[in-house]
Amino acid sequence: MNLSGELVLAAILVIPALGAGVLALVADDRKGAWLNVFISFLTFCCALALLLERPASGPFLIVDDLNAVFVIISTLVAFTTSVFSASYIAHELDTGHLTHAFLRFYHAMYQMLMFGMNLALLSNNIGLMWVAVELATLTTVVMVGIYRTPAALEAAWKYFLLGSVGIALALFGTILVYLAARAVVGEGLDAMAWDVLVANASGFDPAFLNLAFVFLLLGYGTKVGLVPLHAWLPDAHAEGPTPISAVLSGLLLNVALFAVLRFKSIMSANPAALAPGPLMVTLGLASVVFAALMLYRRQDIKRLFAYSSIEHMGIITFAFGMGGPLANFAGLLHMALHSLTKSAIFFCVGHIAQVKGTQRMADIRGLTVSHPTLGWSLGLGVLAIAGLPPMGLFMTEFLIITSTFARAPVLAIVLGVSLLIGLGALLLRLNGLAFGDPDGRSNPSKASYLPIGMHLALVFAAGIWLPPALVAWFQYVAALLS
């Protein structure tokens, strides 16, 4: 359509890819860290430009209202995480957890991960998207193992194994979708393009689509961390560097969920095919119930919030599974707010683990006394993630439950009770972490509070007032999905 749109689109992909190359060459640690921030910021600006300029969809790339939301959230959190990462990594270097060579590798991988995620979100080709999601997953595998401690290696290995199971199932599903489309669209690239697939889905063989969707849901569901396939998630979050935990929870899970959504829309476009909703509702609800119960027994602070991520991914999957404009709207908003909140919490947790020198919750007490800013930020974040008013997540959870009540009261009650159980666990833990007498080791904190503050402010604001333009946009996308 217009040249500038194409340019913006290209920039979102090229900047991180080039950045990865450049960062691999930068020897100075501080320069590398700030260059990383700068590159992430540039990418974010380009993503914002998508609001103004929308390029026409090609055979490989597409920008529509759905993925624009994801891209903007993704690049925003990537930018703030890179700011956090700069201060976090400096401390890791001081304590000798990471060497210079590994740090260069880390920064290059960070941008590579961004590239993979942006490509997955923007691709108009189911094969390309598969490659991109795999690229993103494998980069995170390497990042999770970067500390090279036994626990980190175990986590990375587990992640790799379960991830590869996901790889296999998702690719098989992708091939099946292509075969279903080939009969209608004909051979070639068209049979793998989103827009073509959705437009022609009504003519596809429903049996093929059903089988394909089962594989895709299980395959990408592994990466979302839905419950029977979640085993990698807590380990990967707990053992990797905290910025990676933030990116994993805040972004990569969303990207995998986005893939499921794309395929869901193909399924919905075919009236004869299996309704994808019940499957997603089942997996989502199972995740919520399981994670809510598991929250009580956690002893490691990063694991605690990893299980909370499983819970929230379950909520979002549940919402999209229920379908309908309201639930979709709530699911979308919940996803955005969860990304912001969870990454803010991981920023806090990262600094806390650094100042206390441990991730064991039993050894962390009285943070509001010893490190007031960190402690209260964590408190706010936990209140937000637990779904207490007036934070934004309360509103979305409320919307999901009320919209479910009208259609399936039993499900709504189960969901509500699980959320309350999860809330209890989180508040219990928060009480131990934030209040009481501080003890144990305590270093002065050199945290950068900017990303934390910004995220929490956004979440807080969303709970009180949403800009009408944003609401209209999300409603439009939600209508597209249902």
Partner: protein, 221 residues
């Protein structure tokens, strides 16, 4: 339209692939396992080459060559070296017995045939049998990853899954080049992963037995 002979040869290769997958499950020695995997890759490359020939899709020859060169030759040689250097050519300890694994394998094959056949009735005979066999190979690979607790066996299980995916992708006639890119890409990944993980695990634990890793879970108080 394909001739019966073309179909029979394709069927022969695909069926042999399932058989070799089964042999992978049955192996109880490291070297035997690696050699069987080389055979697996060899069969897959023949199968892909045959598909390239009957579909008149020359780009598939590249996939076949990659499978042959890297998976059937380079990776087995590297793995053999690694096994000798790490001194792990002892018996593999499976998590469950071989008999049970074989029974489960038969069940999985029956399952995949039952799932795929009715669905793919009108997808063309070639795609039909290729998909059923590919699903069997994938499921057998998963079974192998589950039933072995040794890092090398798990990597081999993963690569056999990839072979199954290649079979499925080439059976889907006219699938765009994306698949070939992704296949080459995943081979690269397999190499990286082997390199990084085995050496790191070795460096830390003097063994590649994943079972020993479980003691280091962060949950223990």
């Amino acid at each position: 339209m394909i001739t019966p002979l073309a179909f029979d040869v394709a069927h022969l290769f695909a069926g042999s692939l399932v058989l070799v997958s089964f042999m992978l499950l049955y192996q109880d020695r490291m070297t035997g396992l690696v050699n069987t995997f080389a055979l697996h890759a060899l069969v897959v490359s023949f199968s892909v080459a045959w598909q390239a020939y009957i579909q008149q899709a020359p780009h598939l020859y590249i996939t076949a060559a990659i499978a042959l060169g890297i998976k059937a030759i380079v990776i087995p040689v590297v793995l053999h070296r690694m096994i000798v250097r790490l001194g792990i050519h002892r018996t593999i300890e499976p998590v469950v017995g071989v008999g049970l694994t074989m029974l489960a394998g038969i069940g999985l094959i029956a399952l995949s045939i039952m799932v795929m056949l009715p669905i793919t009735a009108q997808a063309g005979t070639l795609a039909r049998e290729d998909l059923a066999f590919a699903l069997s190979v994938i499921l057998l690979g998963l079974l192998m990853m589950i039933s072995r607790r040794n890092a090398v066996s798990q990597v081999i299980g993963f690569m056999s899954i990839e072979n199954g995916l290649i079979l499925a992708a080439t059976g889907a006639k006219g699938m765009p080049l994306v698949v070939e890119i992704s296949v080459a890409f995943s081979i690269l990944v397999a190499l990286i992963v082997i390199g990084i993980f085995l050496f790191r695990i070795r460096e830390r634990f003097e063994t590649v037995d994943i079972h020993l890793l479980h003691e280091h879970r962060g949950e223990q108080p």
